[in-house]
């Protein structure tokens, strides 16, 4: 009985209705994010024109997995199709099909950027747009009594997992030693040097002088990452966690030189219905008195 109750409660959580504007905003953010990335890597299909000696090191199984089997000319046509699909998804044109096409093509092209090293192109910005657009495509149909809220919630879950598993992976690979000041000091200094920022003083290099600050950064960062999924269940926490996440990414960029291309997708957690209601309310109140003055003037 309890198991059935629990199952029903879980279903109620996932299938709870959601304002349509929040799902639309998510679709726009996912498509815009994907479009920004592919417009920033315009020569990605050209990866297939690499020297044979490099291409030969890509295992055939990986090429099959992502269907990287076609000649570069066809890949360029598909690349154009991806642009069109993302644009259509952005503007809500044939949403079901444009989101499906964009998601599938992002799956195909996503690994191009890293395939000479790894078939796992996470943290290159296309993972969440790929999955999110596919999920929105699956949810887009007529007669959806549950509303498409589950699609937004599922995409938000995938996004929250970025933080949680980034935190978990540190404990998985490094254990509690990862939190040590020494580890953080080496990261701060080593990344500065490896990435060519050591010629001039940097924030990271300065911070590395203070072991206590380094440990604190590690502990706060880890707790923040592990706790982020709470925003899925406690909406009020979003007021704290979302600005913190933006700060976290800006700090990561400045200190560790790590850029998170999906930072804008944090806006998927904003209640756009609430924002729109306030914008409309404010506009109404701004226009109200103005109209009255116009009426007074015209009648006078």
């Amino acid at each position: 009985m309890r198991l059935l109750e629990l199952r029903e409660r879980v279903a109620t959580f996932w299938l709870a209705p959601e304002h349509a504007s929040n799902v639309i905003a998510a679709r726009i953010l996912l498509a815009a994010s994907g479009l920004w990335l592919i417009l920033s890597r315009h020569d990605l299909p050209g990866v297939l024109s690499l020297p044979k000696a490099i291409l030969a090191t890509i295992p055939m199984q990986q090429r099959v997995r992502f269907l990287i089997l076609m000649p570069v000319g066809i890949e360029r046509v598909l690349w154009v199709a991806l642009h069109i699909a993302l644009l259509a998804a952005l503007f809500g044109i044939w949403s079901r099909w444009s989101c499906l096409a964009a998601g599938l093509l992002l799956y195909h092209f996503g690994p191009f950027e890293t395939i000479i090293w790894t078939p796992n192109p996470y943290l290159r910005g296309v993972t969440i747009p790929c999955l999110g657009l596919l999920i929105i495509s699956f949810a887009t149909s007529s007669g959806d009594s549950a509303g498409p809220g589950w699609a937004l919630r599922l995409t938000q879950l995938l996004f929250a997992e970025i933080y949680f598993f980034a935190g978990y992976s540190k404990l998985f690979a490094g254990g509690l030693a990862w939190l040590g000041a020494n580890n953080m000091q080496h990261y701060l200094t080593g990344l500065d040097q490896f990435l060519g920022f050591s010629a001039a003083p940097t924030v990271g290099h300065w911070l590395a002088q203070f072991p206590l600050v380094c440990s604190t950064i590690a502990v706060i960062g880890l707790v923040f990452e592990l706790a982020f999924p709470l925003v899925l269940f406690f909406r009020r926490l979003r007021w704290i966690f979302i600005p913190m996440a933006f700060f976290f990414h800006v700090a990561n960029w400045l200190v560790f030189h790590i850029f998170f291309q999906n930072a804008f997708l944090l806006l998927m957690f904003v209640n756009w219905e609430w924002v729109l209601a306030r914008v409309v309310y404010a506009r109404y109140h701004r226009r109200g008195p103005k109209k009255e003055i116009e009426w007074v003037n015209s009648s006078g």
């Binding site: 279903a11 996932w14 990335l37 417009l39 920033s40 890597r41 315009h42 020569d43 990866v47 020297p51 044979k52 490099i54 030969a56 199984q61 990986q62 099959v64 599938l104 799956y107 996503g110 950027e113 890293t114 000479i116 090293w117 078939p119 796992n120 192109p121 996470y122 993972t127 790929c130 999955l131 596919l134 699956f138 949810a139 149909s141 549950a146 589950w150 599922l154 879950l157 997992e161 970025i162 933080y163 598993f165 980034a166 978990y168 992976s169 690979a173 030693a177 580890n183 080496h186 990261y187 080593g190 040097q193 490896f194 990435l195 060519g196 920022f197 030189h257 790590i258 850029f259 291309q261």
Partner: protein, 195 residues
């Protein structure tokens, strides 16, 4: 877990493809379901996504687009190393090649390929790769001197183009950092240092 999966190395990529195709199939099945069946189809997709992402996350075995999200997760090393690509002009002057020359790859990707694979390919292959690098460096040099842009990423969005995951400090900061004449030779250096 990793060693357990080793004998299936050939099939694991196909299993990962299968995991993605199953996700698509479950999603598409929602389109064709109505009434209570639709509710069931939605919940099946949600259960599958939760299960596979949790499995991938906790085992840290990727199945992209379901992925492990590991980031600066290992214990950092006191020693670091890096490949440096040096272009040599006709007068024998050496210039470090800006990693933006090999876009759309980021420095991380190409550096890792160099470490892992460069000396595994035969001499002819290494020469082919070296020629490709020098050609890319030459194109980047010309682009930089003509348009002030090193890589190909910013052709449309210019400075608004998405940076790579690891941002690399600029190597070519002014026209003085590149030769006015073309690169004629490539040197590849491997540096190692204490952090």
């Amino acid at each position: 877990m990793r060693s357990f999966l080793q004998p299936f190395a050939g099939a694991k990529e196909l299993i990962r493809l299968g995991a993605f195709l199953l996700f698509v199939a479950l999603g598409v099945s929602i389109w064709y379901a109505t009434g209570p069946a639709r509710r069931g189809a939605i919940l099946r997709l949600i259960a599958y996504v939760v299960a596979i992402t949790v499995l991938v996350g906790f085992t840290q075995i990727e199945s992209w687009p379901f992925t492990n999200w590991a980031l600066v997760h290992t214990i950092s090393r006191a020693k670091m190393n890096r490949w440096e690509l040096i272009g040599v002009d006709g007068a024998g002057r050496r210039f470090e090649i800006d990693p933006q020359a090999i876009q759309p790859f980021g420095m991380e990707e190409f550096d890792t390929w160099m470490r892992r694979d460069f000396f595994r390919v035969d001499a002819g292959g290494r020469l082919e790769v070296a020629r490709w690098i020098i050609d890319r460096a030459e194109e980047a040099r010309e682009r930089y001197l003509k348009r002030g842009r090193i890589g190909t990423d910013g052709w449309l969005l210019s400075e608004a183009a998405a940076p790579h995951h690891f941002t690399r400090g600029l190597v070519w900061r002014s026209p003085r950092d590149v030769p006015s004449d073309r690169f004629v030779r490539l040197e590849i250096w491997f540096s190692e240092w204490d952090v």
